[in-house]
């Protein structure tokens, strides 16, 4: 190949590379000019057949040409990479392509969120039957027969001594019978109350029970676990207030209020202008419960707490009618 031919080749390569519009074109030209079958490669390969004086000159020319083409290739590559793609215009405001997803029920979400927090604190999950023996629902939990405390819970009966559990507390008794302390359990579940259905009450509702029995468990531990829970669930600056209360299966018992997260404690309609929201009941497990399950109340102490799931979800999401949870209107379900 003559020097003129090399010059022609260079001119052609320069023009073609300058007009490249795609990476594919650039690659094709690289193969054409620098590939194994290209003219330049042929020249460089044929050098040894040339006269010694000519060999040096051609080699110099060819290498120069190769460098130039490499440079143009690099430039062309950069240019096409930077150029906008010449495809149909994208309307980035169109929704993405996906199959519409469903959602979890708000009760499930609330239970999951709460269980996760306690799970992280070392609580295990346990469950129990919804149709329950009166003994587990009342007797073993220190509700004497014919005691007014039984009226606090309006009970559905399915047989003389079989009820629909009115709280998740029977799970305490069932787990205590199965295990030896330390026992640290969180027990969510469905409970029942024989009560007319209204915006504030439904015959079915969810509760979540937690309890811990070990050597030297104190009321201070109870305050600690609930404070840690409330601050994780409702926010780090939420305050707690423990008020003496009464439950047959705990003594001392307490009702726990949190500072209203809707008005930051200033008082609003939801907290009835008190700045506090009642969220759960708790206490130290009554020695009579330990006696019923054969734990030594002198050796072990423990705490228990229980909260209503719908109530917490209603507060958190400002829902004013509990029936919405069980009506399952998709326009409601899709909001959470």
């Amino acid at each position: 190949m003559s020097q003129d031919e090399i010059a022609d080749l260079l001119a052609e390569a320069e023009e073609l590379l300058e007009n490249c519009a795609s990476a594919e074109e650039v690659e094709a030209l690289r193969v054409k000019y620098l590939g194994r079958k290209s003219a330049l490669t042929a020249i460089l390969r044929g050098l040894k057949e040339l006269d010694a004086d000519k060999r040096v000159e051609v080699a110099r020319e060819a290498n120069l040409a190769k460098k130039k083409i490499e440079k143009w290739l690099a430039e062309a590559k950069q240019k096409v990479a930077a150029a906008p793609r010449q495809v149909t215009r994208i309307d980035h405001t169109l929704p993405g392509k996906r199959y519409p997803t469903g959602k979890l029920h708000l009760i499930t979400r609330t239970v999951d969120d709460i269980v996760d927090i306690f799970y992280g604190m070392g609580f295990e999950v346990a469950l129990g039957p919804e149709v329950e023996e009166e003994y587990y629902n009342f007797g073993a939990l220190n509700f004497p027969p014919d005691h007014p405390a039984r009226d606090m819970q309006d009970t559905f009966y399915v047989a003389d001594d079989v009820v629909l559990r009115t709280h998740t507390s029977p799970i305490q008794v069932r787990e205590f019978q199965k295990r030896k302390p330390p026992v640290r359990i969180i027990a969510p579940g469905r409970t029942y109350r024989q009560e007319a259905i209204s915006a504030r009450a439904y015959c079915v509702f969810y509760q979540l029970e937690g309890f811990y029995v070990d050597h030297r468990v104190t009321f201070a531990d109870l305050k600690g676990v609930l404070t840690a829970f409330a601050q994780q669930y409702f926010g780090a600056d939420v305050k707690l207030r423990f008020r003496p209360s009464f439950f047959p299966f705990t003594e001392p018992s307490a009702e726990v209020d949190i500072s209203c997260f809707l008005c930051q404690g200033r008082g609003c309609r939801i907290c009835k202008h008190t700045g506090w929201l009642e969220i759960l009941g708790c206490g130290m497990i009554h020695p009579n419960v330990f006696e019923a399950v054969g734990y030594d109340a002198e050796e072990y102490t423990g705490y228990a707490f229980g909260m209503g799931i719908e109530r917490i979800a209603m507060l958190k999401h400002k829902i004013d009618d509990i029936r919405l949870f069980y009506e399952n209107d998709i326009r409601f379900l899709s909001q959470f």
Partner: protein, 792 residues
């Protein structure tokens, strides 16, 4: 329970504003809030009528001159029949607002300007008496603001008491707790009795047939009482507690009940047929008319107070109609008794009556306050109804109820509460609550009988804790306990199911487990259900055995509320009686589809749901257990005969699915087609394959061939696949159905089916020749077995 703030102030010294007081009471376990006794009484004053003449232009009105403390008399036009010269009455001056809305102004009445209004008790909100203007006591100062003069400057404290505190159903009980938190001592009213010589024992004898039910019955007899209206201060306190004023005698019994928590009853003793009280159980079928005028049928649970002949009251619950104290009464038998709380509870349940008295006895009254309360009431009747109290009390109390004695170990208190209270601090607290304490290493504590809730050491711990203050107990955020935390496998699996299904576009629902018998019977007859004995309504009586009826209700609700795409699932409990005490509780998954995709995404085409949508979801679920789904035709009452299947996973039936039969849809009032599927979750989990074993990745390339054939409509895909598999050798790795077409081109009654066949050998690259041979064999076999034609 509600009580006047001023009353509490009379019983105990405290220097707290009403808001602080209610907060502090709430924080020691007596939850309460305060409201003003009555609304604004501004510009209402005490006046004296100094002249009253008939209105010149209206004969039924009077023109009065009243003195309200100013320099000149004020002219008032008044229509009340009881206006008299010389009486004192409340006067609302221009600017006053009655009942929060009625504004008083100077007004012309038939030519006379009236500069205010004389008010009735009803107009002031003090009672419902509107028969005439309120007559004020003569001692009241003319011109004084009415709120001040009548001590209406008061708050009602409303308590929401826990059932364990019957002692706080009284002013003294609440004052005692206030004393425990402030350190001051109760000022109990002093009771002085002035008795006549005649012994009460001559006038009445008391017998108790059942002294478990009625451990104590005490009575006094008071003669020559003057029954009439109560003094204002008694009325005012009853008003604050929401109790209607009846007459002085009845009001005094209620007043003392509010004061001591001991219910009392006053009988018109002249209506007794015999001079005696006999307490006995009612006989089955016995009837009695209570003072609310209702005739009630009794049973053995009811305790009666009788005169030995006829019943005069239901013990501890309600008095009788004809022995009531009225204006005509002259001799009163005053009862102060103690009834067992369980008896009162059973009686109340049988009769379905509640009363102030029943509430106190049922929660537990103090048997040892009986005489004090009786004497207090008698002395008030003496003072305000001029009675003559006969000498002595007839007190039948065969077995004295002694206070309980408990031992409290001070270290135990600190161990449970994580506090470091000293023993003297604990003694102080118990002493302030009127527990008797003998110091020592362990404290010997005498529990007063007004605290029936305190029966064990732990109850004393709570008393110390609540008065010390829960807020002062430390808060520990470090904890011990074990490291092993297991989760419940079924719960974990439920979580996986929920994730898969919501990702597939299903909404989770949560429905009532209590179902309507009429609805479930449509789905499943002749099986046992768990039935509620005391249902809240006819529609909610049984516990469900399946979720179908629950989900059909959800579908109906949504379709009726303009939701066009109903795609829901529930993971719910079912209850199967198994002849044991408790039923078997079985968790199930139910899916429901109705309507169709509504084109929520612009890349999809809207279309009605079909069984294949449901099957797709089942296939996604099967991935969780590493199995494949197949459906096999099965009969069911729920589904359409042509579209009713058993769901098989790894050859095991785990549930049913199909298109709901028209009969059932009609009964549920659903017009659109509904697909339902229900799986037994335990069965589903049981089909789960063990951990998948690694298969080496292919080392040689695979080859694909598309095969389009036309077959008769009745040929099913599974049979075609079986033929293909049988005709090929083990190099056929996958048979994927990728197109199904019906239309003119393939002709009536036939369908075009296209498969993609994937061939691969693990030891070499397959030749075209080998694959072509296999394909020819496949086509031949399809032709022979299924009359399949190759599509061009």
């Amino acid at each position: 329970m509600q009580i006047s703030l001023n009353w509490l102030k009379e019983l105990i010294d405290f220097d707290l504003d009403v808001e602080t007081l209610t907060h502090k009471l709430t924080m020691i376990g007596l939850e309460c809030e305060a409201t003003p006794l009555i609304g604004s009484l501004e510009k209402i004053v005490v006046c004296k009528v100094i002249a009253s003449e008939t209105h010149p232009n209206a004969a039924n009105l009077k023109v009065c001159q009243v003195d309200c403390g100013g320099e000149e008399a004020v002219t008032i036009v008044c229509g009340a029949p009881n206006v008299r010269k010389g009486m004192k009455a409340p006067l609302a001056l221009p600017g006053a607002v009655l009942g929060g809305e009625y504004k008083i102004k100077s007004i012309d009445k038939y030519g006379v300007t009236s500069d205010g209004m004389l008010c009735s008790e009803a107009e002031l909100g003090l009672s419902d008496d509107q028969t005439g203007i309120m007559r004020l006591e003569r001692s009241l100062k003319i011109g004084a603001p009415i709120a001040e003069a009548l001590k209406l400057d008061d708050y009602i404290i409303h308590f929401d008491l826990t059932p364990n505190r019957p002692d706080c159903l009284s002013a003294i009980g609440i004052a005692r707790d206030i004393g425990a938190m402030t350190g001051s001592r109760l000022k109990r009213p002093s009771v002085k009795i002035r008795e006549f010589e005649t012994p009460a024992a001559d006038a009445v004898r008391v017998d108790i047939e059942d002294d478990d039910a009625c451990p104590r019955y005490a009575a006094r007899v008071i003669r020559n009482v003057a029954v009439g209206p109560s003094p204002w201060w008694i009325k005012q306190r009853l008003l604050a507690s929401g109790i209607r004023s009846i007459n002085n005698v009845v009001d005094i019994t209620n007043y003392v009940m509010l004061e001591y928590g001991q219910p009392l009853h006053a009988f018109d003793y002249d209506n007794f047929r015999q001079p005696q009280v006999l307490v006995r159980r009612a006989r089955i079928g016995e009837k009695f008319t209570t003072l609310d005028g209702v005739e009630r049928e009794l049973n053995k649970d009811v305790l009666l107070i009788t005169d030995g002949d006829r019943p005069v009251a239901i013990g501890g619950i309600m008095g009788g109609e004809y022995s009531e104290v009225t204006e005509k009464t002259t001799t009163v038998l005053l009862e102060s008794a103690h009834f067992d709380s369980r008896v009162i509870r059973r009686g109340r349940k049988h009769l379905d009556i509640t009363s102030e008295s029943q509430d106190r006895f049922e929660r537990g009254a103090d048997p040892n306050i009986v005489l004090t309360a009786l004497d207090r009431a008698a002395s008030l009747i003496d003072k305000y109804a001029q009675g003559e109290i006969l000498a002595g009390t007839v007190d039948c109390y065969p077995n004295k109820i002694e206070p309980l004695q408990l031992e409290l170990r001070p270290p135990r208190v600190n161990q449970i509460l994580a506090t470091d209270l000293s023993t003297p601090e604990m003694i102080d607290i118990l002493d302030s609550l009127e527990f008797g304490v003998t110091p020592g290493k362990n404290l010997q504590v005498i529990v007063p009988t007004f605290r029936p809730d305190v029966t064990q050491e732990i109850d004393l711990v709570e008393e110390v804790a609540r008065i010390h203050g829960y807020e002062k107990i430390p808060c520990h955020t470090e904890t011990g306990g074990g490291l092993v935390t297991s989760r419940v496998e079924s719960e974990e699996f439920h979580t996986h199911l929920r994730r898969v299904l919501t990702a597939q576009g299903y909404y989770e629902v949560v429905t009532n487990t209590i179902v309507n018998p009429k609805e479930v019977l449509l789905l499943d007859e002749g099986v046992e259900y768990i039935k509620i004995r005391n249902p809240i309504s006819e529609d909610l009586q049984w516990l469900r055995r399946e979720l179908f009826s629950s989900l059909l209700n959800v579908v109906r609700h949504n379709l009726n509320h303009q939701v066009e795409k109903v795609k829901v699932f529930e993971i719910g409990n079912t209850f199967i009686p198994i002849g044991e005490k408790l039923p078997s509780e079985e968790w199930r998954l139910c899916l429901a589809l109705a309507g169709g995709d509504t084109g929520e995404n612009w890349t999809f085409h809207p279309g009605a749901f079909t069984l294949y949508d449901l099957k797709g979801a089942l296939e996604c679920i099967a991935i969780l257990v590493d199995r494949e789904v197949s459906l096999s035709l099965a009969e069911s009452k729920v589904f359409d005969p042509g579209c009713s299947f058993e769901v098989m996973l790894g050859g095991v039936g785990i549930g049913t699915c199909g298109s709901v039969s028209r009969v059932i849809l009609e009964s549920f009032g659903i017009k659109s087609e509904v697909f339902l599927g229900e799986l037994r979750i335990k069965s589903l989990i049981n089909t789960r394959r063990g951990p998948a074993e690694y298969q080496p990745l292919p080392r040689f390339p695979s080859a694909e061939r598309d095969l389009a054939i036309v077959v008769g409509e009745k040929v099913i895909i599974a049979d075609l696949v079986a033929t293909i598999t049988a005709a090929a050798d083990q190099t056929l790795r996958e048979t994927v159905l990728f197109d199904l077409y019906r239309g003119k081109q393939v002709g009536q009654g036939r369908k075009s089916v296209a498969f993609r066949l994937v061939f691969r050998d693990e030891s070499k690259t397959l030749t075209d020749e080998h694959i072509d041979n296999l394909c020819n064999r496949i086509v031949d076999k399809l032709r022979v077995e299924h009359d399949a034609q190759l599509r061009a």
